[in-house]
């Protein structure tokens, strides 16, 4: 078996006396698409936030390409290749779509350049425009982000995440609040993206997860309840009992 | 240094702190419920002192002044909230800060236009003049009265917040305005009431401080920043925090005056910086 690209070892995060994530050990193979499901409050979002460095774990380790990155700040992990998109849409509302992506394309490493005119930098602009085209927003590149529909904003977020050229993409409910049509196009987009990257998706919509993911981890009260292929998870009676039964009912 | 002198300095510090406590509670109340940093608080304090001084001049009774000042300031506060602050909710911190800053300019300069740059006389009332023997030292009777008045005020505010229906609405609104509204509470009136109460406390603080520190248009400028510091040390929106921090800072400053007078004005800010480094949410604040 190949070396995991991202792994957690007995990762734990407590809020007061509650362990939102409790000794979770995961190993992601390169190129894998992993779904994380579980009832509300199972600790899915917390796990993703831990993996992105948004919050620090109370115990346990996070390994990225074999290196310990536990407790590193989010911006550093983002630069090294672990990028997260948020549950609640997070764009730069008053910047245009192009500027939103450009801020990422130009690269945080260049943030100390006080002089160059990025708005005239051809390579930066072309790459940003190409990314917008990929998520289907090229035609709206000059609109401010707040003027986009909810689904379009989420696509813009994906474009921004791709602009980082991440090795691992962490997606927190990428289809939340979308119309059926928007979900369709988002799934196509994600399938396309998945060909070249490792992805972790937290999602409530079963069809999305079942379609996209090779493996699924089920969380329950912060612990791993089951892990396996979509078929195995669907067949598991334990999972049915705590999760599938409830959401389908 | 004798134990008597130290005790005297301690009591003096507590009295200085008492004024801060009253002003800071008002500030903290307004912040906790309206999420507004009220830059006009010092101006309201000053206006309260003016009104109290005039009330004493007209009626000859300090006790009437002590009622008139906070009550009329409460009305003034409600007016300001309805006319200005209330129109800025949801527009972010900046606009409310700017608006209250502008109100502060208008009130201070307005007072100068109406009554000149020199304030009215405000003497310690006859019944509270003179000294009282504390056992270890003689102490001005009026200062002890300020302490008593502060204690009663704190109890009153606590009672209002925790034992009256209005207080419950106010506390609920500070937790979740939307939810409170959904329960059928007229949130606009609660917010106006809370602002009015905060302003009334500023006015009361001014009325109590007047005989001690003199009444003049700029009297609120420094106390505004000082009470910000007290609120930050105590924890924003915490009643207990404002009380403890106010008294603590008063005592610390009082002793600094004794031992290192040069630092007396500065020690306040050093305390605040230290608090923020060690316990950023303040002594009694929640994260």
């Amino acid at each position: 078996m190949t070396e995991p690209v991202l792994a957690t070892e007995r990762l734990t995060r407590r809020f007061g006396s509650l362990a939102a994530v409790d000794e979770v050990s995961l190993a992601l193979r390169p190129g894998e698409v992993r779904g994380i499901i579980g009832p509300n409050g199972a600790g899915k979002s917390t796990l993703l936030r831990l993996m992105a460095g948004e919050i620090r774990p109370s115990a346990g380790r996070i390994l990225y390409r074999g290196q310990d990155v536990t407790g590193r700040p989010m911006y550093e992990l983002a630069r090294r290749g672990i990028v997260k998109s948020f549950q609640i849409t997070q764009v730069f509302p008053n910047l245009s779509c192009l500027e939103n992506v450009r801020v990422v394309v130009q690269g945080p490493a260049r943030a100390w350049n006080f002089w160059q005119r990025v708005d005239l930098d051809r390579a930066t602009l072309e790459r940003a425009e190409a990314l917008l085209a990929r998520v289907g927003l090229y035609g709206k590149r000059n609109l401010p982000a707040y003027a986009l529909s909810h689904g379009e904003q989420r696509h813009l977020e994906i474009a921004m995440a791709l602009a980082m050229d991440p090795e691992v993409l962490l997606l927190d409910e990428p289809t939340a609040g979308m119309s059926a049509e928007e979900i369709e196009s988002t799934m196509k987009l994600l399938q396309d993206v998945a060909r070249e990257r490792t992805i972790v998706i937290v999602e409530h919509k079963m069809p999305v997860i079942m379609n996209l993911c090779q493996r699924i981890t089920v969380l329950h009260f912060g612990r791993i309840l089951a892990e396996g292929t979509p078929e195995e998870i669907q067949a598991s009676e334990e999972v049915q009992a705590v999760y599938l039964g409830r959401t389908r009912g | 240094m004798s134990a008597q002198a130290l005790l005297l300095q301690l009591v003096t510090g507590v009295v200085v702190g008492a004024i801060w406590v009253i002003v800071a509670i008002g500030l903290s109340l307004i912040f906790g419920i309206l999420r507004i940093v009220n830059f006009a608080h010092g101006a309201f304090y000053m206006l309260g002192a003016y009104l109290a001084a005039f009330a004493v001049g007209w009626t000859g009774h300090f006790w009437i002044a002590l009622l008139v000042a906070p009550l009329s300031m409460a009305a003034f506060g409600v007016l300001v909230e309805r006319g200005l602050i209330g129109r800025l909710y949801g527009r972010g911190l900046v606009y409310s800060v700017l608006a209250t800053y502008a109100v502060s300019l208008v009130v201070i300069e307005g007072v100068k236009i109406l009554w000149g740059t020199v304030g009215p006389q405000f003497r310690v009332p006859a019944e509270l003049a003179g000294m009282v023997n504390l056992g270890f030292s003689l102490f001005p009777k009026y200062r002890l009265f300020v302490l008593l008045a502060t204690a009663l005020t704190v109890l009153g505010v606590w009672w209002w917040l925790h034992r009256t229906p209005m207080g419950l609405f106010v506390r609920a609104a500070s937790q979740d305005p939307l939810m409170t509204q959904a329960l059928g509470v007229d949130i606009a009136r609660v917010l106006a009431g809370a602002f009015g109460a905060g302003v009334a406390l500023a006015g009361l603080g001014g009325a109590l401080a007047g005989p001690l520190r003199g009444v003049f248009p700029e009297m609120g400028l420094d106390i505004l920043v000082e009470s910000f510091v007290v609120v930050v040390i105590g924890g924003m929106g915490s009643l207990l925090g404002a009380v403890v921090a106010g008294l603590l800072v008063g005592v610390v400053q009082s002793f600094t005056f004794l031992w290192a007078p040069v630092f007396a004005n500065v020690v306040l800010f050093l305390l605040m910086i230290a608090t923020l480094l060690v316990r950023p949410q303040g002594l009694f604040g929640t994260e």
């Binding site: 700040p73 911006y75 983002a78 990028v83 948020f86 997070q90 509302p93 910047l95 245009s96 192009l98 500027e99 450009r102 801020v103 990422v104 690269g107 945080p108 943030a111 100390w112 350049n113 006080f114 002089w115 160059q116 005119r117 990025v118 708005d119 005239l120 000059n142 401010p144 995440a161 602009a163 | 912040f31 940093v37 800025l88 911190l93 900046v94 606009y95 800060v97 700017l98 608006a99 800053y101 502008a102 109100v103 300019l105 208008v106 201070i108 300069e109 307005g110 100068k112 400028l221 920043v225 910000f228 924003m236 040069v262 500065v266 800010f269 605040m272 910086i273 923020l276 480094l277 950023p280």
Partner: protein, 339 residues
């Protein structure tokens, strides 16, 4: 809601703008002292414009509401004033010294204050500002305390054997105009640089900026330092003009003026500070000339700001820019329909 100029439209207008902006700014700076009744007024406007330009970088572009910028303005003034009295009045020494002092103070204050966000950040900057105010107040031997710093010699520019004394307000104005020109062009450049874009990203959504790899703390700290240094330079220039440093230059009321000017002109717009300073200083001058008002001008300034906050919160230049953008959108929409 805000409207921003779409980037492509900016790009399309670039060749023209590259010339138009510096030319218009030059024309403005040349005409200002001619149009106004006296040069000191024009100079005062530029001092406040530079002060607010620095402030605007932090507030308008990075989204940080500082209420302690008087500290840096005053620090620049005291640095330049003290150096002039004790060491040299050469602007080539006093101005860089003031800028350096502002930058260092900005780094220290920023380091502490940026650990907190929102209201706490504002209050901490306020507290640091007042800390400096009281230090200056107590340290009479050096600062003159309440009386301020008096007897500051006339500043001069000494380059090799040539010396130009900044005797009159006109001399100071010329220096100010040159620096204003450089500063505004430099800021314009800075705002479209990767650094400037990153700051605006932080203003828009700090969490998101961090998620795409920006070290937001360091970026904010740098914005703070630059902003403080700029305010400090403005403070030094004010001393060349007034030959006096008042203790009030450190007071939080002065910090408030920076906020007022920036919002009046339009926060987050390049020219906002210049327009705001023109309006603010102009208004102050007109009001104090009215016999019934004189020293009571802040009353009317306060009233104006209450109205401003209520009816046009985007300021003069901000409102103008939004109208222009809306118009351009309408034109481009009409063009698309036609084509």
């Amino acid at each position: 809601m805000e409207l921003k100029v779409p980037s492509e439209l900016l790009t399309a207008r670039r060749p023209l703008q590259a010339v138009v902006f510096p030319a218009a700014l030059t024309a403005f700076l040349v005409l200002l002292p001619i149009v106004l009744p006296y040069e000191a007024l024009a100079a005062q406007i530029l001092v406040y414009a530079l002060f607010s330009l620095g402030y605007n970088l932090l507030f308008g572009y990075t989204g940080l509401l500082s209420f302690g910028h008087a500290a840096f303005f005053g620090l620049g003034s005291y640095t330049a004033g003290l150096l002039a009295r004790k060491v040299t009045a050469n602007v080539l020494w006093t101005l860089p010294a003031a800028i350096g002092a502002g930058a260092v103070a900005g780094a220290v204050v920023g380091f502490f204050c940026l650990r907190r966000r929102g209201d706490y950040f504002s209050l901490m900057t306020l507290a640091f500002g007042q800390l400096l105010y009281f230090i200056a107040h107590q340290w009479r031997e050096v600062t003159g305390g309440d009386d301020g710093l008096r007897g500051i010699p006339v500043a001069h520019l000494q380059v090799g054997p040539w010396t130009f004394a900044l005797e009159s307000s006109r001399d100071v104005y010329v220096l100010l105009a040159v620096l204003t020109f450089v500063a505004f062009l430099g800021f314009r450049r800075l705002l479209s640089s990767p650094f400037g874009t990153a700051l605006q990203a932080i203003r828009e959504n700090e969490l998101r900026a961090e998620a795409v790899g920006y070290d937001t703390f360091r970026l904010k700290l740098w914005a703070f330092v630059l902003s403080a240094a700029m305010s400090s330079a403005a403070g030094a220039l004010n001393v060349y003009l007034l030959k006096f440093v008042g203790l009030n230059s450190l007071h939080w009321i002065t910090s408030g003026y920076a906020v007022l000017i920036t919002i009046l002109g339009g926060a987050g717009t390049l020219l906002g500070p210049l327009v705001g300073a023109l309006a603010f200083v102009g208004l102050q001058d007109i009001l104090s000339a009215i016999p019934a008002i004189v020293d009571r001008w802040p009353f009317f300034v306060g009233l104006l700001f209450i109205v401003c906050v209520l009816v046009f919160p985007h300021g003069i230049w901000g409102t103008a820019e939004r109208l222009q953008t809306r118009l351009r959108w309408r034109v481009s929409a009409a063009g698309e329909m036609g084509g």
